[in-house]
């Protein structure tokens, strides 16, 4: 199913995608400051932050309660709630909306968890199409080092431990992240992501993003 083109007004929808540890949030912050500096209104919306639903997701994760279908639907509910209450109103008001992860995150995670990709796509078929999607690509071995340095541990879900790939967290992480990268690779072509080498210094990446965004502004 085709995702609808953003028809919600004059705002811009800009997405930064990538796995945990790929430097997304850093880039979102830099871009946020840059666009503000240029004098445009900016709103940032992160994945899984709807006030109503994100609590349920975290609670369920903690208790390791949910099956993958329930998770998919919960994330879709979280997204829909944010879309209607944050994203669309901001776009209508002419804001530049920066998304830290977007529906592609769901496409990747859900298909790695064995869901039919067409089912997932159709779940999000009402989502407005972004004006730009940046994808930060970082190989698993570097991601692991970054995440261990940052958090000291590898996250249970980001390691795909919930789907039983391996009882060893390190192995599981490698397998899971490789599969995610493969899925991102497929989506990249299909949706025309701008791929960025996430191993480069953050200023260098930011300059490329800036140049692309300038063209639109």
């Amino acid at each position: 199913m085709e995702i609808k083109k953003n028809q919600n007004g004059e705002g811009l929808l800009i997405v930064i995608e990538g796995t945990d540890g790929s430097g997304k949030s850093t880039q979102v912050n830099l871009l946020d400051e840059y666009i503000k500096y240029k004098g445009y209104g900016v709103a940032v919306s992160e994945w899984k932050t709807s006030r109503l639903i994100s609590g349920v997701i975290n609670d369920a994760k903690e208790r390791n309660l949910l099956n993958t279908t329930t998770f998919s639907l919960l994330y879709a509910a979280d997204y829909t709630d944010r879309l209607e209450n944050e994203i669309i109103p901001a776009l209508k008001a002419g804001f530049v909306v920066l998304m830290d992860r977007y529906i592609y995150t769901a496409f990747v995670r859900d298909s790695v968890r064995g869901h039919d990709i067409n089912w997932v796509k159709s779940l999000y078929s009402f989502a407005p199409k972004p004006d730009l999607v940046f994808y930060l690509n970082v190989p698993p071995d570097i991601l692991i080092k970054r995440l261990i340095a940052k958090n000291g541990v590898l996250d249970y879900f980001e390691s795909g431990r919930d789907i039983g790939l391996s009882v060893d967290t390190y192995n599981s992480f490698e397998i899971y992240q490789k599969r995610c990268l493969e899925e991102y690779g497929k989506l990249k072509k299909e949706y025309g992501f701008i791929e960025l080498d996430g191993t480069k210094p953050k200023e260098e990446i930011h300059n490329i993003i800036k140049a692309e965004v300038d063209k639109l502004l």
């Binding site: 109503l52 639903i53 609590g55 349920v56 609670d59 369920a60 309660l65 949910l66 099956n67 279908t69 329930t70 639907l73 919960l74 879709a76 509910a77 829909t80 709630d81 209607e84 209450n85 039919d116 089912w119 159709s122 779940l123 078929s125 009402f126």
Partner: protein, 226 residues
């Protein structure tokens, strides 16, 4: 292919009742439940919107009236998915007769009545297990209103007040439930629901249901004596 579009291969049997509030379906499924139990058959009864994880959130959201039709629709699907995986599927695997008071058709009817795209909702529930038999209790919204509102005003959502069809909750109820009934009528053919006239006596309806269910269970190797 999505699971909902094909027959399941579990040992158990899934039987559902559908219809708007006040159609008498809950009375009927409870009667069927105790009948099957008395006959020594392994049977469980499950209700719509009863999973503890989500019902709190749904209730909170309803109180604040802040959700769109689509978010609502997704939250109900979450609830259903949770219940399907934790209650319905294991029971079917273990060979139980599972009785569901409302099933995905409730979502199809209500969500579409709230202007959600029918195809989108059907696809979303593609992970559901297809029932072996579903009874639809046909009642007019006016009769339904008389039954449920003899001593109270219809609730905000059951009257579809969020749809702004009318400021009067009674009028709104009839208008909104009419939209739901319209959807159910379309679905009787689409999904082969067995229609029951809700204005029959309780006993008449129960006899009809027992006859149909006994035949079905017989075919599946579950025999009811007496």
């Amino acid at each position: 292919m999505l699971r909902f579009s094909k027959k399941h291969s579990y040992q158990g049997v899934l039987i559902c009742v559908e219809g708007i509030d006040g159609s008498g379906k809950s009375t009927q499924i409870e009667l069927l439940h105790s009948f099957l139990k008395q006959k020594g058959i392994d049977v469980v009864l499950t209700q719509w919107n009863s999973s503890e994880l989500i019902s709190k959130t749904t209730k909170k959201a309803k109180k604040k009236n802040l959700l769109s039709g689509r978010t609502f629709s997704l939250l109900h699907a979450v609830d259903f998915a949770d219940r399907l995986e934790r209650t319905i599927k294991p029971a079917l695997k273990a060979g139980f007769v599972v009785l569901a008071d409302r099933y995905v058709y409730t979502a199809f009817a209500r969500d579409v009545a709230r202007d959600v795209d029918p195809e989108w909702v059907r696809n979303m529930y593609g992970f559901a297990i297809k029932p072996d038999m579903t009874f639809y209790f046909d009642v007019s919204p006016k009769d339904s209103l008389e039954r449920i509102c003899s001593n109270r005003q219809p609730g905000f959502y059951e009257a579809g007040m969020d749809m702004k069809l009318s400021n009067n909750p009674y009028k709104s109820y009839v208008l909104f439930q009419n939209r739901i009934v319209e959807q159910y009528k379309k679905m009787t053919d689409e999904f082969g629901l067995i229609k029951i006239d809700a204005m029959q006596t309780i006993r008449q309806k129960q006899e009809f249901i027992r006859k149909n269910v006994s035949e079905l269970l017989n075919k599946r190797g579950i025999h009811i004596e007496g």
